[in-house]
């Protein structure tokens, strides 16, 4: 599903975020991406979402080399990927319904169909009945779940999450992770950047560990605790 081949990313100013990194995530896999801040976790996710482009090497998503995707093709490409952010990136002047339904609006799906699918997505994250509420009236954990509902409402095959539990306490974090686990159970591929080691340990999933833009370990066992 995700394959990085000798990928390097150098940001303007000379900082090299990734150096000759090769790794892959299989279809239907749930994988964690760990490492210090600045190790390159976010860069990997940005390269997958085409927010950034690699300086060298190739990023292949679902068999498609992203180097061949033009600026104009990016929107259609992104519709196939669900994204969850640490800061939720919700629109605070719109209701939960409008926030979650936005990916469907973008795709030109009809009004009634949007309502139906948004309710289904909210049901999955346990927020059914909160459609008319504005995000500010929700707790951080609930806001994150709205963000997750938005990421899955268009039923993407791939879900990427950047520190989705960064602002949550352990209990809520586990709740969110269990939610991701349930998506994984029905075949969604997940790549989650996180530095919450105890939580990752608990879930027993594959872990890709980075240090200074290089692969440190790449397997089920915890490896080096960084």
């Amino acid at each position: 599903m995700i394959r990085f081949e000798q990928v390097a990313k150098r940001y303007p100013g000379g900082r090299e975020a990734l150096s000759e990194l090769s790794m892959s995530v299989k279809k239907g896999e749930m994988t964690f991406l760990t490492g210090h801040s600045g190790a390159g976790k976010s860069t990997i996710l940005k390269l997958i979402a085409l927010i950034e482009r690699p300086t060298r090497g190739q990023v292949i998503i679902n068999g498609q080399n992203t180097n061949g995707i033009s600026r104009r093709q990016i929107p259609a490409f992104r519709r196939g990927i669900g994204m969850v952010f640490q800061d939720h990136k919700l629109l605070y002047d719109r209701t939960v319904l409008d926030n979650v339904g936005l990916p469907l609006v973008v795709q030109g799906i009809g009004h009634r169909e949007i309502g139906r699918r948004v309710r289904a997505a909210l049901d999955q994250v346990g927020l059914l009945g909160k459609e008319k509420i504005f995000p500010v009236a929700l707790s951080t954990g609930e806001q994150q779940r709205v963000g997750i509902a938005r990421a899955v409402v268009s039923k993407p095959d791939l879900l990427i999450a950047d520190e989705p539990t960064g602002n949550l306490d352990p209990e809520l974090s586990l709740e969110i992770m269990n939610l991701f686990q349930r998506f994984n159970d029905v075949g969604v591929t997940l790549l989650i950047a996180s530095h919450d080691h105890s939580l990752i340990e608990q879930l027993g999933k594959r872990r890709i560990t980075l240090a200074s833009g290089r692969l440190l370990s790449n397997g089920l066992s915890g490896g080096l605790s960084v």
Binding site: M1, K27, G28, S42, K46, A49, I51, E52, I61, N62, G63, Q64, R72, Q73, I74, P75, A76, F77, R78, R79, G80, I81, M83, K89, L90, L91, L102, P103, V105, V106, Q107, G108, I109, G110, H111, R112, E113, R117, A120, D123, Q124, R150, V152, K155, P156, D157, L158, R182, F183, D185, V186, G187, V188, T189
Partner: protein, 340 residues
Amino acid sequence: MNRRRPNSTRPLAPKARRKLPAPAKQGVGGMRLIRVYFTRHAQNLFSALGRMVRQPIGSLLTVTVIGIALCLPAGLHLLVVNGKAVTSSWDSAVDLTVYLKPGLPPEAAKGLAGRLEKRLDVASVQVIPAAQALEEFRELSGFGEALEALTENPIPDVLVIRPAQEDINATQVKMLADELTAWKEIDLVQVDTAWVERFHALLAILRRAVSLAAAVLAVGVVVIVGNTIRLDIQSRKSEIEVCKLIGASDAFIRRPFLYSGLWYGLGGAVIALLVVNGTMLLLQQPIRQVAGLYGSNFELTGLDFGSVLLILAGGSGLGWLGSWLAATRHMRLIEPGKDS
């Protein structure tokens, strides 16, 4: 979880390129897609209007500035139209005014008129006797009392000659005028068309000015709308960023701004029409008075249907263009993830 169907078999990227993915269960069809398309545009149209209404002062200012910019070419256009209307009845009349020498006997004018009318190159001759001319002058000029002081009529008899040829040219008129000047009873021959021609030359300049002003002010409208939209885009930066992240196309993000621009332009055009028509209404009475003084029943011509349509369409079009330029340019600068 139970509601979610496994979908790992669905390929990701290639199919994601479809603009409108088929809705899950409901009937798919061209009609449905077309309806969705129009619904979306209608929603944008009215939500853009809603946003403007929620910021009444800012919107009103923008619309008023556009309106003022548009009403200048519209007003100049009216000036030209009415200028043409004033002179149109005199266009073809190339009359010669013949002033007879003062002190001729009253019958002399009649005799002269008779001789002139026999000529082949003269269509008609109108005699304005000195007494009648004095009377008219007394009535219309306001110098009535001053005229009382005069012991004799300072105005000579006048003949107004209309040449036979309707499309007579300037040299032919000049020849006729020169010939008549040589007659011993005639003091002066004046060709009335000279000032009409000058007036037309002035109108031509004015018409050119209208085009130039329209062009300059059109650019102005585009810039005004563009700037308003630019600020609008900046204030909705996070929204645009999120939309881009979830795969909104540039066209999708641009659309609401285009409709805002359209409304600004249309609003400006309506204000321009109100200003121009209001001015017309205010000028109607005084102009009727002046026309009356000149013995004319001239009425101001308002904007015709075509011009009204042109102003409305032009305003909307310029608004659309301005917002398209601004949106296309500034949208590119907002890319997700560049800040972190």
